[in-house]
Symmetry: C2
Subunit: 337 residues, 2 copies
């Protein structure tokens, strides 16, 4: 099942069911108007939405219309919790390598989690307004899960079973405001997260959803130039079930919480001399691209994002169709008051 | 105006208007059923609630009933954002002093903010369930503001004007899980926040609300024994307007966000020899009480909280009446599954 939310002037928008090929949509009116309602009462409402989804896919939905991602808010425009994880370790390894340090051992043994902003996710085609270009504007592309209720102390197997929806995300990161990994620095340096047009139930991924990982390729481009073509499966060090279990170590989670994987990243490939000299899959953030350039050529060539720059993230299924719709974001200056 | 939320089996409960003396309550039915609705549309709905509040205070509300804090959830049972600040610096100064270090200069110049859990606030008389006593269970008492919309870059004067409600809070802190102030440590060590029975509009404080600070005494007791009698005004290093302005430095805030002051604390009093040897106002957390004991007597005497311990926090107005109702929490072990 694929769900989206259309802008209607309200804070929560209007819930839509979207066809598998993203061609058609249908308001969920009569079942639920907001996605949080569905998450609050999933067992009762999801089957009703699914029946509409089947109608839509078979051309039998009575009031279907063409789906337009530009009308979308984030599928869940505001959430009661958003936690950012560091599930892919190649990028942080490179950041530490730049400082001639190994990644702390705890990164490998225990998922690193940080509280994020959930009060207003950006829509897939929104402007990303940042106060100043000097803040080192970056966009880190990854995946996120929207969960049901998770009791305190849930196991990875239990949390996996409570994943309701998956989506693509682009975390806006202000690299100059990151301060040695402190919580205060994290709050200011991570002002917003943008979400793909649709959120999908894990079964939509078929065999590409394996043991809490999505085995597909995340495509990231900046101003039309390819930045990364990253397989999101094998290099995910902790799967979504492990990340969520870590998140509810000391507290329960409630329906509609969002957990993001953090930027996808890949280790480089070694040459016959055993030196890492190639990064065939590229990067899923500007900071990681810059780290690769420094390690490879001794200097950065890619600047952080500027006003007017565009970033596009997409993921295609085995059939070549976009699964979540594309994130197409534009970096923008604040409007003068 | 004073607002509360009664438990009704739903995630958001039922909104109540409560009389000034906390004696009577009235369902807000017909105006709004949930507090978040009111926050989303404050200018339209708050005056209607206020009219009911006036009726209630003058004995003219048609279906008033006796107010029972034990039926309360948190006034706002779940929020789209909760940020913890460190507005009182005496306690962190003491923590650093224990390690023979000065508090970093940044604490004095820039409010320290951390993302907190907002997915399920605890009610005022709830059990605080913690997985293990070995985690160093603490309760840090403070104040919190619930805001309206705050544009990115709002000034302290602007954010002060957008404070809708104030309440007492008790942050559950697991001291053994705090890790050198990292974001990941913060997430696990701050599993929950409990809220007073009612949230009140700042005008209820009269002259005790001055320049973004509450000039009254926060009373904290553990198992019936006094822990602190702390004046929350003079030692608040950053007022609520400054804390909120810092919070929206890089991003807007949406209606219904919660900002907590962090534990209230006081510097000690000096004797004629210029040595600090008295802490007449006590502490608003166990960790601070222990720090005071160590500085005074060379060792801690107060243990962290154990299962079955009770913690009570209250604040009285100049007339001697409780303003927010009391927090009366009990620490509890998880029930065996």
């Amino acid at each position: 099942m694929k769900l989206a939310t259309y802008r209607d002037g309200s804070r929560d928008g209007q819930l839509l069911v979207v066809s598998r090929d993203l061609g058609l949509a249908h308001y969920a009116t009569g079942i639920a108007s907001r996605l949080q309602q569905v998450l609050d009462d999933w067992d009762f409402l999801a089957p009703q939405l699914h029946a509409l989804y089947v109608q839509l896919n078979t051309g039998k939905a009575p009031h279907a219309f063409a789906f337009d991602p530009r009308q979308c808010m984030a599928p869940l425009p505001r959430a009661y919790q958003c936690v950012h994880a560091t599930a892919y370790l190649a990028a942080p390894e490179r950041q530490y390598q730049l400082h001639q340090q190994p990644l702390p051992a705890s990164f490998y043994t225990e998922p690193q989690l940080h509280g994020g902003s959930s009060t207003a996710f950006l829509g897939p085609c929104d402007e990303v307004v940042v106060p100043s270009e000097a803040m080192g504007i970056d966009l880190a592309a990854g995946l996120a899960a929207i969960t049901g209720d998770l009791p305190r102390g849930s196991t990875p197997a239990q949390t996996l079973g409570a994943i309701r929806l998956l989506m693509l995300t682009g975390d806006v990161v202000l690299r100059q405001l990151e301060q040695a990994n402190t919580a205060a620095g994290h709050l200011h340096s991570h002002p917003a997260t943008a979400c793909s047009p649709v959120a999908i139930t894990p079964d939509e991924l078929g065999p590409a959803w394996q043991e809490g990982k999505v085995h597909l390729t995340l495509q990231l481009a900046c101003n039309g130039r390819k930045l990364g073509l990253c397989d999101t499966g094998p290099t995910m060090h902790f799967h979504f079930g492990q990340l969520l279990a870590q998140g509810c170590k000391t507290r329960p989670w409630q329906a509609g919480a969002v957990l993001g994987s953090g930027a996808v990243s890949h280790p480089g490939a070694s040459n016959p001399q055993g030196q890492t000299d190639d990064w065939p899959q590229g990067a899923c953030s500007i900071a990681d691209k810059r780290a690769i350039e420094t390690l490879h050529q001794g200097r950065t060539r890619t600047p952080f994002l500027r006003y007017g720059d565009t970033v596009r993230a997409d993921m295609k299924g085995k059939d070549g169709h976009s699964l979540f719709g594309a994130l197409e974001l534009t970096i923008a200056a604040p409007q003068e008051a």
